[in-house]
């Protein structure tokens, strides 16, 4: 475990530099303890693949106090007892602008790409980049595909993309360089809800295929940006 004071109001803890489900579980356990713990002066704990950063108010606590808290909490081997939230997310692969590219890249059929994509169980490692954007682990290496050489100016909300060994969902319309293999009609961000994003770190995802008609029905109900 490595601790760094990365800003006047932030302490970073690093647990190695390899994506690992065990490390991820450790991080979300710690994150939950800190964010639910009401510690004086601590604003929020945010995680990445192998890192956790505690943000705090430097007028109310200090790096040393936060570091000690992190070291103490890491020693206690609390595991999350509750099972993860599981989401079943529909995907219309007809909107996969790059699905033929991905299939050709691996010398397999589009049906095989879809089969490989829906047969895996994905873990939300963390949410980052933009509101509700999940960084997912668990994709089959057989469909891992490099990013596009030139990013698209605009990727539709709900687009499912592949970038190397990562897969993710664009919650809103944005520029993007991931290979788009499908689109979900589910709205990942509902700003007026108490829980404003559908997904949270630690959740699990199963994808299942739907046709265009089903896509449009759900997209309307969900108020997806179209």
């Amino acid at each position: 475990m490595q601790i760094q004071y990365i800003a006047e109001d932030a302490v970073m803890m690093r647990l190695g530099d390899i994506i690992d489900i065990g490390v991820h579980r450790q991080l979300i356990t710690l994150q939950k303890q800190i964010n639910n713990g009401n510690y004086l002066g601590i604003t929020e704990a945010v995680i990445g693949f192998t890192t956790l950063v505690v943000y705090f108010d430097p007028m109310h606590t200090s790096h040393i106090t936060v570091e000690k808290l992190l070291r103490d909490l890491s020693k206690s081997d609390l595991e999350i007892s509750s099972s993860p939230t599981v989401h079943h997310i529909p995907v219309c692969y007809d909107y996969g602008l790059d699905i033929h590219y991905v299939a050709n890249y691996h010398q397999i059929t589009v049906e095989e790409v879809i089969e490989l994509h829906i047969s895996a169980v994905y873990t939300v490692y963390f949410i980052g980049f933009s509101p509700g954007f999940p960084f997912l682990g668990g994709m089959n290496d057989k469909i891992a595909t490099p990013r596009k050489a030139a990013p698209r100016q605009s990727v539709e909300a709900g687009s499912i993309g592949i970038a190397g060994k990562q897969t993710g969902i664009y919650p809103g319309q944005s520029p993007g360089g991931w290979q788009i293999i499908g689109r979900t009609p589910v709205n990942l961000v509902k700003i007026n809800n108490e829980q404003p994003t559908l997904l949270q770190s630690g959740d699990q995802i199963h994808f299942y295929p739907i046709n265009k008609k089903e896509f449009l029905e759900t997209a309307n109900n969900e108020g997806l940006e179209q």
Binding site: Q4, T43, G172, N192
Partner: protein
């Protein structure tokens, strides 16, 4: 108040959206927190009350009730009912008054506070505009013509004969500014000494999310793929091109570029106000020095807040201290 003409990029900002970074929301808040807080102090507000952040070219606003406003930050020309409006002091406003904000002559970001703060409904515990979330709702977009922003009516009939010393804002656009940074998590991946030897400029392709720097390419001495990790306002990222990008107030909560340094908080206001033509230098310092400068800046702002609250008490009750 009503936005008659929206200006270049006018947004509502309080001190930012804490507690939602884990869900991908940026912290946001003002680019120049110092000027924003002083704007609030001038009208007797709390630090966190919502203000207008005006970027370079200001909006035209019509007031729909009596209130008191103040303008701080970038030196901007503004006209109240056709007469030049003073900066850095409270200005009593009557219902129907029109404020025309024009271009900033020095710096980029100006702040317009109103007594009691802009009373728009909070989204996720904040009135700062949400970055990278598109919708037609308020706080999901910059302000447009005809937007109505609620303000608490406040009538003040007294006279105001004072203003803040403009020297308080001398940090804005000073010549050859030095921006200090502490070591970033991946400083050893780079030839970091070269950063301090060079003069830098901010590219015109910069915005509330990030400032792209022009000067030189930073040499990578350790090629390694970084796994995405949490990042914050002030992080000096080095993308594969070698040209640094400093994350600003709307920076994303996690990022995958390695970080050479972190601009110290006491220098973020100065950095945010540097216009593309101005040269500046980057200089490494210790975290102890960063903390010392932060505490002295906070002490100054706390004193200023106290003095201005006395001023207000004196104006309202006539009691001198």
């Amino acid at each position: 108040m009503i936005i008659i003409e929206e200006g270049l990029h006018t947004t509502i900002q309080d001190l930012g959206r804490n507690n939602y970074r884990s869900l991908g929301f940026s912290l946001s808040g003002p680019m120049d927190k110092t000027a924003m807080r002083i704007a609030n102090f001038l009208v007797g507000n709390d630090d966190n009350d919502a203000v207008l952040e005006i970027s370079f070219l200001g909006p035209t606003i019509e007031f729909t009730c009596d209130t008191i406003i103040a303008i701080t930050g970038a030196k901007m020309t503004a006209f109240l009912n056709g007469y030049e409006a003073p900066l850095y002091r409270p200005i009593p406003i009557n219902k129907g008054d029109t404020l025309q904000c024009r271009a900033a002559k020095k710096g980029i970001y100006s702040y317009l506070s109103v007594k009691g703060g802009i009373q728009i409904e909070e989204k996720l515990s904040s009135r700062s505009m949400i970055a990278r979330y598109n919708s037609e709702e308020f706080l999901s977009r910059k302000l447009n013509n005809d937007d109505y922003l609620p303000v608490q009516p406040y009538s003040f009939t007294g006279k105001i004969h004072w203003k803040l010393d403009h020297q308080i804002f001398d940090y804005i656009q000073k010549d050859n500014a030095t921006i200090h940074f502490i070591e970033g998590p991946q400083i050893s991946w780079f030839n970091a000494d070269s950063v301090s030897e060079k003069r830098w400029k901010v590219s015109s392709k910069s915005n509330r999310m990030g400032y792209r720097l022009i000067g030189q390419k930073i040499e990578t001495i350790k090629e390694q793929q970084l796994l995405t990790e949490p990042v914050q306002f002030g992080a000096i990222q080095i993308p594969p091109s070698g040209e640094p990008i400093i994350l600003m107030a709307d920076g994303q909560p996690t990022g995958g570029y390695p970080k050479l340094g972190q601009v110290i908080q006491a220098d973020l206001a100065t950095l945010s106000q540097i216009t593309p033509a101005k040269e500046f230098t980057l200089e490494k310092c210790s975290i102890e020095s960063a903390m010392k400068q932060l505490h002295s800046q906070e002490k100054f702002l706390a004193q200023l807040k106290l003095i201005l609250s006395y001023k207000w008490r004196e104006m309202l009750h006539g009691t001198k201290l």
